[in-house]
């Protein structure tokens, strides 16, 4: 879960700043992210993990507003690619998010992603957030964020941009096919000190697609269930084919926290 508000998060050198994410909360919540060339997968399309990251940002912010004064934790996230987008600095991805349900125990968010200026649907995502009792350590939402229209805000700082491929920027290590590792660094943490949900999605995506050693596959659907915070590290994703079809199961464990399973994911590979 990510707080999309002012304060000391994200830190100066952080993935959300390099992704140059901008957002506003109005009638609908909206987030913009340039389709930087370093977001590309092997075939030049924007990675599903990058889309999951922008979804997590806007969904987390919107859910926190819907759950106020309570707090939230991401329970699950699904993202389905509809049409691939070439990673090109001239293209901007725009995601609109809306609350489908704001209940006592859960908040459900739907988020559709399109591209500009070409237009057209890029992906559709849904998220469930658990509503928690507020703790003293939770960030405080400011008045304009609750019930008011916020100005368009940016997470970018002067000069922040991706200077190398997203996987390298995140520090994803590649021990072998179907495995990816990530160290807990300030670059990838969320406001709770755990690995950002979008970074975990990117790690799961990477682990899944490296099962195809020919490199011809991309992850086109991803369904993640977040089970526990990833606050130790290294964080290791292991993907395996489940059965004879194209179903891939990914388990992400926290090697620095008694090998605790932090996330499980189901992925679908395709030549999109």
């Amino acid at each position: 879960m990510t707080l999309t508000g002012p304060g000391d998060y994200p830190p100066p050198h952080h993935m959300l700043r390099d992704l140059r994410i901008e957002f506003e909360h109005a009638d609908e919540s909206r987030v913009w992210m340039p389709a930087q060339r370093h977001l590309a997968d092997a075939r030049g399309h924007v990675r599903l993990g990058a889309l999951a990251t922008m979804v997590d940002v806007i969904g987390g912010g919107l859910a926190a507003l819907a759950a106020a004064p309570g707090w939230i934790a991401t329970a699950d996230l699904s993202v389905h690619a509809l049409n691939p987008v070439i990673a090109d600095d001239r293209t901007t991805l725009v995601a609109n998010a809306r609350v489908l349900r704001a209940g006592r125990t859960t908040v459900v968010i739907e988020c559709s992603i399109e591209s500009e200026p070409a237009g057209g649907a890029v992906a559709l995502a849904t998220m469930t957030f658990s509503v928690l009792e507020r703790r003293a350590s939770n960030p405080v939402l400011t008045t304009p964020q609750i019930g008011g229209r916020s100005e368009r805000q940016t997470m970018a700082s002067n000069g922040s941009t991706l200077r190398r491929p997203l996987l390298d920027a995140l520090g994803v290590q590649r021990p072998g096919p179907g495995v990816g590792e990530l160290h807990l660094t300030p670059y990838v943490v969320n406001s709770l000190g755990s690995v950002q949900g979008g970074a975990l999605a990117t790690l799961a995506e990477y682990a899944a697609e490296t099962l195809d050693e020919a490199g011809a596959s991309a992850t086109v659907d991803l369904q993640l269930a977040y089970l526990a915070l990833a606050k130790g590290g290294p964080i290791r994703a292991t993907a395996s084919f489940a059965g004879a079809g194209d179903v891939v199961r990914v388990e992400i464990i926290d090697a620095g926290h008694a090998l605790r399973t932090t996330t499980v994911a189901l992925a679908r590979l395709g030549r999109r």
């Binding site: 329970a75 699950d76 699904s78 389905h80 690619a81 509809l82 049409n83 489908l100 349900r101 209940g103 125990t105 859960t106 459900v108 739907e110 649907a121 559709l124 849904t126 469930t128 658990s130 509503v131 928690l132 195809d212 011809a216 596959s217 086109v220 659907d221 369904q223 269930a225 089970l227 526990a228 084919f241 489940a242 059965g243 004879a244 079809g245 194209d246 179903v247 199961r249 399973t261 499980v264 189901l266 679908r268 590979l269 395709g270 030549r271 999109r272």
Partner: protein, 295 residues
């Protein structure tokens, strides 16, 4: 109406699919693991000869939901909030065995999984997120290890057949969907069903598997030449009590032989949206082999 505490009511759907749930985990040490076996009979077969997807969704919801409920004890019982499922194969061979375990048991939510296998291996894999609630009558008490045993109900034992005049193959080919009463919506767009007591779960609301089956039908109805649903992410937003319950699918995008469909489910009697789903629909039944993993 809530009858979570009465194990004899709200089980018609489980009886129809003939699902026997047996707790096999070391419950005395806090471990909750369930197994279930289903002998697919003709009333659960789809037009492709395998276990109909709606029945598979229902079974996964059943076993993972019961597992979540046991994991929520003694603080509460559960209602399904989201179900994510992927189907690995179309045809099932022999008995289908389910195994469900707890991925996370928190104060407000429980995450469980369900893996379905037959003689040939994996059939489907599902993850269920459930919210922990306290029923009006109090938290149910289960004798442990828990057992819920249902003999398969005769296919036409006192059931209704809403769509016997239905000419649409997507809603009329399978007995399971006829038992649910799924029919084309009178508007010509989507499918719907009436709510009767046999479709309610122990909370007195429409069973999550029934809603998932309606979603399966609506997604296929939205895609010309559809053969079946390969994956679904279902969010249960509100309970269905009144009916009729209508599901409408809208194709969003296409990739090779698969179409991504968004399905919205509404309880017309309560005038509200009760579920939303993102569904992958296959246009034709694939002959998947180990060397052809990526359609």
């Amino acid at each position: 109406m809530t009858y979570v505490n009465d194990p004899s009511t709200g089980r018609s759907v489980a009886r129809y699919v003939g699902m026997n749930l047996i707790e096999v985990g070391d419950w005395q040490r806090g471990e909750v693991v369930l197994e279930a076996t289903v002998s697919p009979r003709t009333h659960l077969a789809g037009s492709h000869g395998g276990l109909v997807t709606g029945a598979l969704l229902t079974m996964c919801d059943n076993v993972a939901g019961f597992c979540a409920g046991l994991a929520a004890l003694p603080h509460g019982w559960v209602v399904s909030t989201s179900l994510m499922i992927r189907r690995a194969r179309w045809q099932s061979v022999g008995d289908v065995r389910f195994r469900s375990g707890v991925l996370r048991a928190g104060r407000s939510s429980v995450v469980t999984d369900a893996v379905a296998r037959d003689e040939k291996g994996l059939l489907a894999i599902a993850t269920l997120t459930s919210a922990v609630l306290v029923p009006k009558g109090g938290v149910p008490v289960w004798e442990r290890p828990a057992r819920l045993v249902h003999d398969a109900q005769p296919p036409d034992g006192g059931q209704r057949d809403h769509d016997r005049d239905n000419k649409r193959s997507d809603a009329g080919a399978d007995h399971f969907y006829r038992w649910l009463g799924i029919r084309p919506a009178p508007t010509g767009v989507g499918v719907e069903l009436d709510v009767f007591d046999g479709l309610r779960n122990p909370w007195g609301i429409v069973h999550g598997g029934v809603t998932a089956s309606l979603i399966d039908s609506a997604a296929r109805a939205a895609v010309p030449g559809a053969s079946g649903v390969v994956d679904a992410t279902v969010h249960f937003l509100a309970p269905s009590r009144a009916g009729p319950v209508r599901a409408v699918g809208v194709p969003l995008g296409e990739r090779r032989s698969e179409v991504v469909v968004k399905v919205v489910v509404s309880d017309l009697g309560a005038d509200r949206v009760v579920a939303i789903a993102i569904v992958g629909v296959q246009r034709e039944v694939p002959a998947v082999s180990a060397s052809d993993r990526f359609p």
